[in-house]
Symmetry: C2
Amino acid sequence: MADPIRIALAGLGTVGTGVVKMVQTHAQMLTARAGRAIEITAVSARSRSKDRGVDLSGYVWEDDPVALARRDDVDILIEVMGGEDGPAKAAVETALKNGKHVITANKAMLAHHGQALAELAEANGAALRFEAAVAGGIPCVKALTEGLAGNQITRVMGVMNGTCNYILTQMEDTGADYADVLKDAQELGYAEADPAFDVGGIDAAHKLALLSATAFGTRVDFAGVKTEGIDKITLTDIQHAAHMGYAVKLLGVARMNEDGLEQRMQPCLVPHSSPLGQLDGVTNMVVFEGDFVGQCVFSGPGAGEGATASAIMGDVMDIARGLNIPAFGVPATDLEAADLSASGATAAYYLRLTLADRPGTFAEAARILGEHDISIDRMRQYDHAAVEAPVTIVTHAAVPEHLHRALAAIDASEVSLATPVALRIEAL
Amino acid sequence: MADPIRIALAGLGTVGTGVVKMVQTHAQMLTARAGRAIEITAVSARSRSKDRGVDLSGYVWEDDPVALARRDDVDILIEVMGGEDGPAKAAVETALKNGKHVITANKAMLAHHGQALAELAEANGAALRFEAAVAGGIPCVKALTEGLAGNQITRVMGVMNGTCNYILTQMEDTGADYADVLKDAQELGYAEADPAFDVGGIDAAHKLALLSATAFGTRVDFAGVKTEGIDKITLTDIQHAAHMGYAVKLLGVARMNEDGLEQRMQPCLVPHSSPLGQLDGVTNMVVFEGDFVGQCVFSGPGAGEGATASAIMGDVMDIARGLNIPAFGVPATDLEAADLSASGATAAYYLRLTLADRPGTFAEAARILGEHDISIDRMRQYDHAAVEAPVTIVTHAAVPEHLHRALAAIDASEVSLATPVALRIEAL
């Protein structure tokens, strides 16, 4: 049997503790599957004295994660500290420079520094793996880089933030407002005290940027992801969508078009009867479309101790078994800068306008839409207030740029009392 | 760059042709991803003259697949001829004995000879891979052996025969009888002229036996799969199930219980609102449950040229990248014979009895059920004919053995005019 593979664990929060539990619980099974023992050698975290409910006495303690990453008795650094820069990045860089493999769950770090870190890994013959950074326990990075490696990927879609999906499904199921559901989610521990990172779509956009690079062989380009959060979605929008057979989801879409790479993370309408439309609560779902395979759909737990530890251990097992493929599927130096000029595929849109309640305002809004080549499929006027006439519209397929120009014109006109809301209806 | 990896292709039907198309279409992309060229060297099929719509002129032709498997200029044999014995097995054995890797889509061969072939592969340092044999284009074998390798798997479930799922969903959607839908499916090419292999559950049971061995580290034991087909399912059963919020699916379940391995492929009721219950048409779905990850669900095309070629190419890429893990996740000689004494987990059941239409017959049937510890949750009597009183019953959780004894007793009694139908309600 081969020598044991030796792990250093940087970070002992929920995820790090999960990894310790897995290695301790399944030592024999992991050895049988990997053909060698999986051993934790050393660990590092902020507080040494904190009780984490696991026995750490067999491991060397390092206060400094960079010192941890440099140890001679370590083959793999598992980085689960978090933070896009700072100690996490320093530890990862040190490990890679010393030819040690790195496994990380740190989507923010990779979204910003993925290219540099992948190049550093390859220059030093080390693997850089990040299954746990995207869609929790679902082995979707593996599916993309390995199982579906024979395909040209045509589209990647995903609901990859459990907090947002929980909030949106709760709003629909209970009829509660965004603010109330967010408060509940915070009390249940599904949302952070500062929820901006989740509800603003940033966390999910990090994940999409990683999948997009892997799918299309482009350099990670987080700045190129058009990102909108769910904080402007009202109960009214969700109820109107449901009425028309749609669910509102914070949906990531990446697609290579003729005019470049399109990357979007935004609330969209998807058919209620589709797998994406039926996805409830904190579960994640990722959809890959390939030119030969067609559509494959993967769902599972997007976060949590066990699911994240499972993803990390999948990467450990690969390295233990000798697999070392480039982080994003092809050598980092071959990744091309994405052309981000893509105007985006046409789509039908759901619009909500707040018009002044006097004769001719709808005619004026409709005229502006028509002027910009936006054609109306369905419309509905509802709940007249004293001065406001709210109107919902579903358009025929429209060029996104035309639509945004039309909405800007409506917003600037005197018939509109509030900024129009537009949600893309994603064709599945 | 490493030397090209050289493929011999045994079989040029739909799947083999798909592999040729993929290698020809994506030569450059595959080379970039594998770090070496993927080349087809030689091919073999029954008819050399048949026009398959692809250019085979660059490949050596061998009439004999065994001669193909023996060629010096071949690293991987892809076997897509089919047939559990005969030339397919002979070619695979020859390749493995000569230290060549084998990729096969042949579930029947592996269900019967998987253990011997895995041992032969390992004795010769060759890989034996079969992603295409299970659930078509879904990279589920990879997910199980690699991505989820940190987990003890607790349950495997799958809808893995597109023909059966098409027939069952069509019956529910159109209200047509089994025989009529089967005839349509045959005309559409979804079902074979002799459908026994599909509708009898054999094809799906082959697949389950392979997943089960991989999940639980047991020797492939196809004979140990309790297999029932869908040919006894009536429109009545489907409609009653739908009325109660269930869909009927040909569902495979493998579970390691305290008293041994349970493997079943049988029509079951699953909640209509669950991912399995919503699965329509020829799509496949596989569910893995692991002790750390929880539940992961994978769906995609279960058959067809492109999907199967995609699965095969995933295996090619792994081998080209140097991955060589045992066929079933651990060395074949370490796989344990499964203890098949498992009585099966308890479950609620849907029952349809055909009783004589005279006073006291239902009381007698209920008495027999009670005598065997089967307790009734719901019952319904419907559509009295002159002499028959059909009754449907949903039981509380019952021990499968008790239920089968009770039904045998009812069947043997004079109150029953036809063999009772029992469908398990699988808890998801």
